[in-house]
Symmetry: C2
Subunit: 123 residues, 2 copies
């Protein structure tokens, strides 16, 4: 990430504006409005590089390809809308995770994903 190219500006801006995690193809589609001709390979390469630089966080949900969001937020989880397939960020954490851990196991971290319908799709 030594040069600030048009392509990288477009990709960064799309993720900043989204406010929710996006997949590579969502990024491509949106970023092409800022820079037509952008290639999917560049999106993959840039997302990967930005994760390594710590600028992005990779959001992995069960059975889904990775999505990407701006990094630097505090610990949070996600809500996956079954209707529109969008992923939203949640604040807070459930309790009692330690109590689920079997004896002798050491708990290091956790993931929580909620499923249902977002406000827009529930109505």
């Amino acid at each position: 990430m030594k040069r600030d190219t048009r392509q990288r500006q477009a990709i960064r801006r799309v993720l900043e504006d989204a406010g929710r995690p996006l997949g590579p193809h969502e990024v491509l589609e949106a970023a092409r409005e800022h820079h037509a001709g952008l290639g999917i390979a560049t999106v993959y390469r840039t997302l990967k590089a930005m994760v390594e630089d710590g600028a992005l966080a990779q959001v992995e949900l069960p059975g889904e390809p990775p999505r990407y969001e701006i990094n630097g937020k505090r610990h949070h989880h996600h809500f996956h809308c079954r209707a529109c397939d969008r992923v939203y960020e949640l604040e807070g954490c459930p309790e009692g995770l330690r109590g689920l851990t079997p004896a002798g196991f050491s708990l290091e971290s956790h993931e929580v994903v909620l499923y249902g319908r977002c406000a827009a799709c529930a109505s």
Copy 2:
């Protein structure tokens, strides 16, 4: 699933003996000890058919290809050992999930995955 073939017996037995979710290649390797010459395509087809029949449950963990476990157990979650990459079943559920859900969203289900080291790897 109309015929009970040697291949299916081998695959079913491997999953019954494992007691934890297995991926397609783990199943292939283990089932070949019961039926050498078993093909990976048959493993995929059989796992898919057994899920549709309700005999198996598909276990999807973030960033991981699906694994499969014997169905019929009650609601549970999983613990993923970072050292040996094995997945274990957990009993119980955390509390306060409802409280994480934003206003207007309808919560239908949830996934919880714990990460750390299993008893064998922690020592």
